[in-house]
Amino acid sequence: MGNGTSIGRVRGLGSSHQGAHHWLLTRLTAVGNLILIPYLIVSLALLPDFEWATVHSWLAKPVPATALILTFINTFYHARLGIQVMLEDYVHEEAGKIAAWLLVNIVPFAAGAFGVVSVIRIALGAA
């Protein structure tokens, strides 16, 4: 109470009081990425070759499979937070805001789920 103008309160404009959580989650997932992505690119660079059998058997091992599943969860969450900030800066029309809200809340989770399912298929030996 007592924040903003009366008309602002009626229209529901002003702080949503969720910004700090968004900010903190961006940092948290950033630190996660700082471990997961270098692990992924160093592991890939150290593979003896990039034939299917080599890559598949590496990815089927427990630690790489776990790391890649975590990578999908963490990167898609981090990307979702960053894209939201970008859209908030550049999309100003009401219809565009609704489309953007649908986009950032559906696509990253669908895409991340596809990645996780793919790793599970590899790890459990289906081909």
């Binding site: 660079a45 003896p48 299917w52 598949h56 990815l59 990645g115 399912v117 298929r121 081909a127």
Partner: protein
């Protein structure tokens, strides 16, 4: 938005200020982040989906993204994809370096003009060097 139609004074924007390294690093953080999010994660999903799909689907992925074997379309996309892969590697190193810079700025240090400019430039130097070293290592005969 209401202010788009008003005649009230607006604040000076990009074309007014003299560009400095911090401004460049700031916009590059957004550009590389969104590039990684859209192109990088899409490519990562295609890669892992192709591995899960078996040897044949992995070969399709490799021909479109790297060797260009099999079709004229793949030959074309393989050239583009190599540029995209190098670009994404640079984008990752740049985003990581400027992200680390943000974590330092978050604790309230590094705002003095010369310090700020120096670390901004260093993120640019790091990303180019790291990209070159990474690809030199990957392409090195083994």
């Amino acid at each position: 938005m209401a202010q788009a139609h008003s005649n009230r004074p607006i604040s000076p924007h990009l074309q007014i200020w003299r560009w400095g390294p911090a401004m460049l690093v700031s916009i590059l953080h957004r550009v590389t982040g969104n590039g990684l999010a859209f192109a990088g994660l899409a490519l990562l999903l295609w890669w892992v989906g192709a591995i899960a799909g078996g040897e044949q689907s992995y070969q399709t992925f490799i021909s479109f993204v790297w060797t260009g074997a099999g079709s004229p379309l793949a030959a074309l996309t393989a050239i583009l994809a190599k540029l995209v892969l190098v670009g994404l590697t640079w984008a990752f190193f740049q985003h990581m370096a400027s992200g680390l810079r943000h974590l330092v700025l978050d604790i309230g240090v590094g705002y003095e003009l010369h310090t700020n400019a120096r670390w901004s430039v260093l993120t640019l130097v790091f990303s180019v060097l790291a990209t070159a070293l990474f690809w030199a290592f990957v392409l090195m005969p083994r």
